[in-house]
């Protein structure tokens, strides 16, 4: 069916108008500049509100968090249980979104779904838990939690079936951690270098009881 000439003219006029509107709306956008990122230090991570007013362009703040997480570069310093340590470390790289500074606690429902009674009981007073996800480590689903430490996010992996004979220290350029033997399993705790992990270890160990 052929289009009437006035209809065609109108359609072309509207098309030209839309093209013009699109060009007018397509503002120049400042580049998403990624700064040279320093190590994670207190001034960068302790306060979300403190990060809110950088000089423009400012939206790189969040993207920077991703890069900080990706640049952690931790390495395992033990000689045994290389696979478990490798899995733990690889997992940190795969889930950088967990390492965000926030004061928003996860819900009880979320916590219970990730740390069900069938795996462990855990007192939430161990710290401000801001992330919880069931993750696969060494072929097993384990609770991956993040609590907010004094100097930044601290990763906790509850591994009820990963028995190890001794504590496995982990060292990195900007972070440190440990995999602790706990009964028939183990718990990995990793935070920024400034973090007093011994204090967190004590609280976490007191708060967790395996169900099996």
């Amino acid at each position: 069916m052929s289009e009437c000439s006035s209809c065609q003219a109108y359609r072309l006029e509207m098309k030209a108008l839309d093209d013009q509107i699109l060009r007018a709306l397509s503002l120049n956008v400042p580049e998403l500049n990624m700064p040279e990122l320093p190590d994670i230090v207190t001034s960068n991570v302790v306060s979300l509100s403190a990060r809110r007013r950088f000089s423009p362009p400012t939206w790189f703040a969040m993207a920077a968090t991703v890069v900080v997480a990706a640049l952690i570069g931790i390495r395992f310093v033990g000689v045994d249980h290389q696979t478990l340590a490798d899995e733990v470390l690889a997992h940190l790289d795969h889930e950088p979104q967990a390492l965000v500074v926030t004061d928003v606690e996860i819900s009880d429902a979320r916590f219970r779904s990730v740390v069900p009674a069938s795996i462990a009981s855990m007192d939430r007073r161990a710290g401000l838990i801001t992330y919880a996800q069931s993750c696969e480590i060494n072929g097993r689903d384990v609770p991956h939690l993040v609590i907010q430490g004094e100097h930044g996010p601290v990763t906790i992996l509850l591994m009820p079936e990963e028995k190890i004979p001794n504590a496995l220290p982990l060292e990195g350029d900007t972070v440190h951690g440990v995999i602790l033997p706990v009964g028939s399993g183990s718990i990995a705790i990793i935070g920024v270098r400034e973090e007093r992990l011994d204090l967190i270890e004590e609280r976490v160990l007191k708060s967790v009881t395996w169900s099996t």
Binding site: L17, I21, A24, L25, A63
Partner: protein, 151 residues
């Protein structure tokens, strides 16, 4: 999320009609999105999800600042910057005409022409029925045509 920063910025700029405010709004929106990333279940929905957050952040910003409507003859530097992107008289006229549109008309136009949203998606984004969206889009274009003819 950085992939969408251009869309987020442009949407924020046309909502707020101010480049500096747009940068603040995008920053807050990204932080908020990052904190609630868990709620994004479908990667394909990332763009409308982020634009919804931008929209809310923009509303929060204006709520906090209690900003009034913009007087086109008395713009701040960052407001004026939006209208002075490049030396092109025709584009400048169109940009000013869009700038002067009521929010109710400008926003659906941005979502359709710039973001590629369907009228149904615009309705969801703005909490409007599809018919209302179509009406607003028609009136927005009619106003722009009128403005451009008289410019």
């Amino acid at each position: 999320m950085g992939v969408f920063h251009r869309d987020m910025y442009r949407y924020a700029a046309w909502l707020s009609r101010d480049k500096a405010i747009a940068e603040d709004v995008v920053q807050e929106a990204l932080l908020r999105a990052w904190k609630s990333l868990e709620s994004l279940r479908d990667d394909a929905a990332a763009k409308p999800w982020l634009l919804t957050i931008v929209r809310r952040e923009n509303a929060r910003y204006f709520e906090r600042k209690r900003l009034e409507t913009v007087d086109i003859d008395n713009l701040t530097a960052s407001q004026a910057a939006l209208l002075a992107e490049e030396p092109d008289d025709e584009l400048d006229d169109m940009r000013q005409a869009i700038y002067e549109l009521d929010d109710d008309y400008r926003e659906p136009l941005v979502l359709q022409v710039l973001m590629g949203f369907s009228t149904n998606e615009i309705g969801e984004q703005m909490g409007l029925k599809q018919g209302a969206v179509l009406t607003r889009l028609h009136r927005a274009r009619a106003k722009l045509r009128e403005q451009m003819v008289t410019a």
